[in-house]
């Protein structure tokens, strides 16, 4: 019977490759393979270039007889990083990390909850979004002097500022992700009798996950910015405070070392969320 000839595998697969242009998971393992191979090569060349740039910088500083207080030599920064790490940098690093994560956890929990709330009760978002926009657009560092008057010079004002910097970012991105969920997918779930909670867990949340991860990434970067900025304003703690301290003493190699630590922290945040995204949301490639 003609109807038996259904397994149109070869022509079908050709059309599948055409369909892959938009969203949807392409062969995940293959892409991961390609990326890794490419990545190794790229990582090698990126590292090589970085070495060349740093070496060049070192020699330029030697040839031009630039004083350390004007621009510290890369070797001096690296030496300071290794020798002074336990005494000068470890403690402020832990202080920054602590406030950062505390702020991130509080901010993102509130942000994600608000996103869920405005998704389930769409009428609410016209009341909430003005404040969210204000919070996103205002640099939260600006609040630090005020918060310090209220809460003292401990961790509290900085954790609040970091929460206010990360939360709205997580909220805006998550809410957008939830809202963008394909209406037909929701209809599909409803046609099977899904409750609002099931729709959320099985359809909206996984659909929004790539956006939520992006929200966390951007929020974290804003959070780090706020953390370091707030430490520079006052309080005598953390990496930001060390930046002010070393620059006021014109200890530029130590200043450079702290800068390298802050930058590494930022790149670490970025890499972590890129990794999470590839792991949990690879279908959205």
């Amino acid at each position: 019977m003609a109807t038996d000839n259904l397994a149109d595998k070869i022509p079908d697969f050709n059309s599948a490759t055409v369909n892959q242009g938009g969203n949807g998971p392409v062969d995940v393992s293959a892409i991961a393979g390609i990326r890794r191979a490419k990545g190794l090569k790229e990582i090698a060349s990126v590292i090589a270039l970085a070495i060349v740039v740093v070496t060049l910088l070192e020699f330029i500083l030697i040839w031009t007889h630039t004083e350390a207080y004007v621009f510290p030599k890369p070797t001096a920064i690296i030496r300071s990083l290794f020798t002074d790490f336990p005494t000068l940098y470890w403690k402020p690093l832990t202080q920054t990390v602590q406030t950062f994560f505390l702020g991130l956890i509080i901010g993102s929990t509130i942000g994600l909850s608000l996103a869920v709330l405005v998704t389930l009760k769409p009428g609410l978002d016209i009341f909430i979004s003005p404040y969210i926009i204000i919070l996103v657009t205002t640099p939260m560092v600006a609040l630090i002097p005020f918060l310090m008057l209220k809460f003292g010079f401990g961790m509290t004002p900085r954790v609040i500022a970091i929460s206010l910097a990360t939360g709205p970012m997580v909220m805006i991105n998550s809410a957008t992700g939830f809202r963008r969920t394909n209406a037909e997918l929701i209809a599909l779930g409803k046609s099977y009798g899904a409750t609002e909670f099931q729709l959320f867990r099985k359809i909206r949340f996984p659909f929004a996950l790539p956006m939520i991860i992006v929200g966390f990434m951007v929020g974290s970067i804003f959070g780090l910015l706020t953390a370091v900025g707030a430490e520079m304003v006052g309080g005598g703690m953390g990496l930001g405070n060390r930046l002010i301290y070393f620059s006021s003493l014109v200890q530029m190699s130590q200043f450079g070392a702290v800068l390298v630590i802050v930058a590494t922290f930022g790149v670490g945040i970025y890499s972590f969320f890129t990794f999470i995204n590839r792991k949990w949301a690879s279908w959205d490639a």
Binding site: M1, A2, T3, N5, L6, A7, D8, P11, D12, F13, S15, A16, N19, Q20, N23, G24, P25, V26, D27, V28, N182, E184, L185, A187, L188, G189, K190, S191, Y192, G193, A194, Q198, K202, I203, P206, F207, L209, A281, W283, D284
Partner: protein, 259 residues
């Protein structure tokens, strides 16, 4: 093969209210579908055929009039009795094919009917693709997967909203044959919306022709070609004759409204 009435549509109207205007998508629609019957709904785009189907699904209630399924007034989706197939396969891209087929079972908190799922996958030619992600499947395979997902719930009624509209002509023919094969086995009651008149005639026992603005039932065509039907049916003079007459109706309803 005339049996009990499965779906009774009585004076159904659906009005959409937008900020600027009111659209009468469906007006005073009355008809019934018998148990095990295959009905296709055709009409120009915007004639309300999809709206009608959504009214039958319980997802978008009618503005006025009633829909009864097996004599019971429809007020909300009936997940155990009505299955929906959409224009897009609507497979969740983060789930494998089999996980997608299992989704309705999970929502209903029921054990997966392995035997039925296996049988359906076999008929659909999807054996061996259970662990593929939708992005790895062709358009035809995805749509067959979504039909398997609906049929695995063993619904009495299958509502299909232009399910093959996005597929190319050859895949579409194969899908039609696949659907007839499944239907001849299971004898579900099917309401199938399409804008392809030949597809409608090829599949249906009866074709409902709708005219737009407001969407009304303008004509019912009985299609009594014997089953099982072969793809060559579409070249028979009688087939072409029906095709032409429905086509004139659909065209006429469009130009008549000053399009």
């Amino acid at each position: 093969m005339a049996q009990a009435t499965r779906i009774q549509i009585t004076d159904v109207s659906k009005i959409y209210q937008t900020e600027t205007k009111t659209v009468e998508a469906v007006k005073n629609f009355t008809e019934s579908v018998k148990d095990g019957e295959f009905v296709c709904v055709v009409g120009a785009s915007g004639c309300g055929k999809t709206t009608l189907l959504w009214c039958l699904s319980g997802l978008h209630p009618a503005t006025s009039g009633t829909v009864h399924i097996d004599g019971e007034l429809l007020t909300k989706p009936l997940p155990d009795r009505i299955g929906m197939v959409f224009q897009d396969s609507n497979l969740l891209p983060w789930r494998t094919l089999i996980e997608n087929i299992e989704l309705p079972f999970q929502i209903k908190k029921k054990a997966v009917n392995r035997k039925l799922v296996d049988e359906l996958l076999d008929v659909a030619g999807l054996k061996g693709f259970e662990n593929s992600y939708p992005g790895e499947l062709s358009g035809g395979m995805k749509q067959r997967g979504s039909i398997v997902r609906a049929l695995a719930q063993d619904p009495e009624v299958l509502l299909m909203d232009e399910p093959f509209g996005a597929l190319d002509a050859f895949t579409r023919e194969e899908m039609n044959l696949f659907l007839l094969k499944v239907w001849e086995r299971t004898r579900k009651t099917i309401v199938f919306v399409t804008h392809s008149i030949s597809e409608a005639i090829f599949l249906a026992d009866r074709v409902w022709v709708m005219s737009p603005r407001p969407g009304r039932l303008s004509r019912i065509v009985d299609v009594d070609f014997p089953r099982p039907r072969d793809i060559d049916l579409q070249f028979e003079p009688k087939f072409i004759e029906i095709l032409k007459s429905i086509r004139e109706d659909v065209e006429g309803s469009k130009s008549g409204k000053g399009q």
